[in-house]
Symmetry: C2
Subunit: 413 residues, 2 copies
């Protein structure tokens, strides 16, 4: 597949600062791809707090099961991620592969297996040969470095056309802490989770239970508000680690997610999660345009989000966007099929600043030309006001193009 970099890719990457307490390295294990890195090892000097959210699929991958089992301990020393094979629907062999990988990582860095976290992404149903990961483990551990975020993001890519990184800082008390994150996505992207994989690390000192609360709150308006194709992966994993290195600079440990001290951190975390999530949507397979769907005036925020996702997941809306067609009739259709409270005769719809429909019919002042100008842009805001209440939500998606079909009709070959 050489579809080139998404036209929606960022034009520049942030300088990713070193975060005290974490180091990483990548290797070419040859799991599926040739001549590119496909394994990432992330090591924490000292036990880090860990929080995680995972796919709600009833058929999760072996690494998801593995992480869920380790998460209650709340402590991480290492993360091993591979691309090229999802180790999903691999039965007993899949469990053996996670055990072998975790054991190799634990032995190499001198940690417990319960302190290792794993993620795999790629094809489903093919046995993962963990020997290939084990074979590069010692070398990886010998090369870990703190200044390697973009390379780490590259190693976990599958059909992604660009690496996804983000960084933020925030103050906890008088101490400035940093948050770095990487993500990969591209296809099989839908809420609960839409990650697919994302790893976020901060040097803040935060207890695991508080960290978990902060992550759970941040994921709703970010990763759980992007969709590429409504297909939820078996492998979606978002892990957040707090190395606690900032304690040495005087940061008082956060034990409670509602502490006043952690409010600024929470905002920065949420902002970073949204940044990464939008980068995932912008790299949707075959994407040429980014659609920001905002629903206002709904009965509730939950209702607004369901309607927004109904619009964002509609193949007819997404193909209309691909065709630069201001086809607001399809937006009406998607509102109608959501099953949520809606009154046809109160609906108003905007593409960008152009109101195309009002009170259940085409806007009398509607200008096809003005709407078309909006549709020709790369970023297209669509707003629907239901005129019922004060519920609102925003979600992000990309258009549905022939390239999406091409990429996914030819993925395994």
């Amino acid at each position: 597949m050489s579809h080139g970099v998404s036209p929606l890719a960022p034009t520049s990457y942030p300088a990713m600062p070193v975060i005290d307490g974490v180091a990483m390295a990548t290797a070419e294990a040859g799991i599926k791809y040739k001549n590119r890195t496909d394994v990432l090892l992330m090591v924490f000097d000292r036990p880090a707090s860990v929080a995680g959210v995972f796919t709600r699929s009833k058929c999760p991958s072996a690494p998801v099961d593995f992480c869920r089992a380790n998460l209650p301990h709340g402590v991480a020393r290492a993360v091993v991620v591979n691309s090229g094979n999802a180790n999903a629907f691999t039965g007993r062999k899949g469990v053996e592969a996670t055990t072998k990988t975790a054991r190799a990582a634990a032995a190499t860095i001198g940690a417990k297996e319960s302190e290792v976290f794993l993620a795999s992404t790629g094809v489903i149903g093919e046995p993962l040969n963990a020997d290939k990961i084990e074979a590069v483990m010692a070398d990886l551990a010998s090369r870990v470095t703190g200044d390697f975020w973009v390379e780490a993001a590259k190693a976990i890519m599958t059909t992604d056309t660009y690496p996804k990184v983000a960084t933020r800082t925030a103050k906890i008390g008088a101490v400035t802490v940093t948050i770095n994150g990487i993500a990969k996505g591209a296809g099989m992207i839908a809420p609960d989770m839409a990650t697919m994989l994302s790893f976020v690390v901060t040097d803040a000192d935060i207890a695991p239970s508080a960290l978990q609360t902060l992550l759970a709150r941040g994921v709703g308006p970010s990763f759980n508000s992007v969709t590429v194709d409504s297909d939820t992966s078996t492998s979606d994993t978002l892990l957040l680690f707090a190395t606690g290195a900032a304690a040495a600079r005087g940061q008082a440990r956060i034990e409670n997610a509602d502490a006043a001290d952690v409010a600024a951190f929470a905002l920065a975390l949420n902002d970073l999660l949204k940044d990464l999530a939008k980068q995932v949507a912008r790299d949707g397979e075959g994407a040429r345009k980014m659609l920001e769907v905002t629903v206002t005036g709904a009965d509730s925020d939950e209702s607004a989000k369901r309607i927004a996702l109904s619009i964002a997941n509609s193949p007819l809306v997404k193909t209309a966007v691909a065709g630069e067609d201001a086809n607001w009739g399809r937006v009406v259709m998607a509102v109608g099929k959501a099953g949520e409270p809606a009154d046809r005769d109160r609906l108003a719809i905007w593409f960008g600043d152009v109101r195309v429909a009002v009170e259940g019919a085409r806007d009398p002042d509607y200008s096809e030309e003005a709407a078309s100008t909006v549709m020709k842009k790369q970023d297209i805001p669509v707003r629907v006001d239901l005129g019922l209440g004060s519920g609102s939500a925003t979600v992000w998606t990309c258009d549905l193009t022939k390239e999406y079909v091409e990429i996914n009709g030819d993925y395994r070959s």
Copy 2:
């Protein structure tokens, strides 16, 4: 759009018999299309019993509102259908257009407006000029004939590539009755309803309430079991008429849907509805392959159907089928995302007769070659056994191709 006739089109059409009590004609009203028929008038000699099911969209079209209001009377004298404009999201003008059309039909044939049923299909949000329909009404009424089913099916097509007709006979007591049906579909096709438009007529003598029960029962495993793109139209309408002409041949009127006498008729009706529904799926926009998804071993029939629809609506499954890729991992994904009870380690999956997965992993005897042979066919059966209970369901869909994107990215232009 000249994408040619779907490769899945029927190779022959049944001879559609005349049904006593109904006659029809078509005309070129020039609503949107040029040089093709776009209005259908169906007239019943004497008041026919009528039953109907409609879209569950919260933003239904004006004709759907109109039919819903007339349905409780249970009596029909005429049906007017147009293609090219859906008269949906057209506000007050839309209501005026339905009133004008119904009034013209009622006046022309000497019936009440409450005995007229309407349907419109085509673009949403454009005002429908009912003057154009009114202008051809007298001519239509003067030309109605009983032997016109295929022509009627052609007049209601939008992006359909072939007309959809079906016919069955059944005995009610000693009297043979006939059922004829026409349908149109192609895009914006998903259950509740998946019609989009279908009109079925029998000469049987059946009371409206019994007819409604029979229709409601038949629609579940037929029109509500096909999906093209998961997008539910604002206009879906399925109307069933019973002219009662068979009473003259000695058929005792059916007052109760559970009467023993009507069992054979119910089977024939259900079979006809399934035939029409599958024709709709086979003409899915851009379709090259037909997918029959059967789920067995589910907790309940309802659960099986939700999982089957999750598979049939998955863009990743549908693009894999387009690519002739036996990518059963995506089937696992779609089972997992359905949210229904499923145990990964009990799943078994077949493409045709080839079992590709069993007990939560690739079948040890799996042959990529054998699976590929199945995928190269035009009709592809996929079966998933969940190993939990005895619930089962079958749904039909088509593949997702570049042509779907092309057709829908350029529909209004």
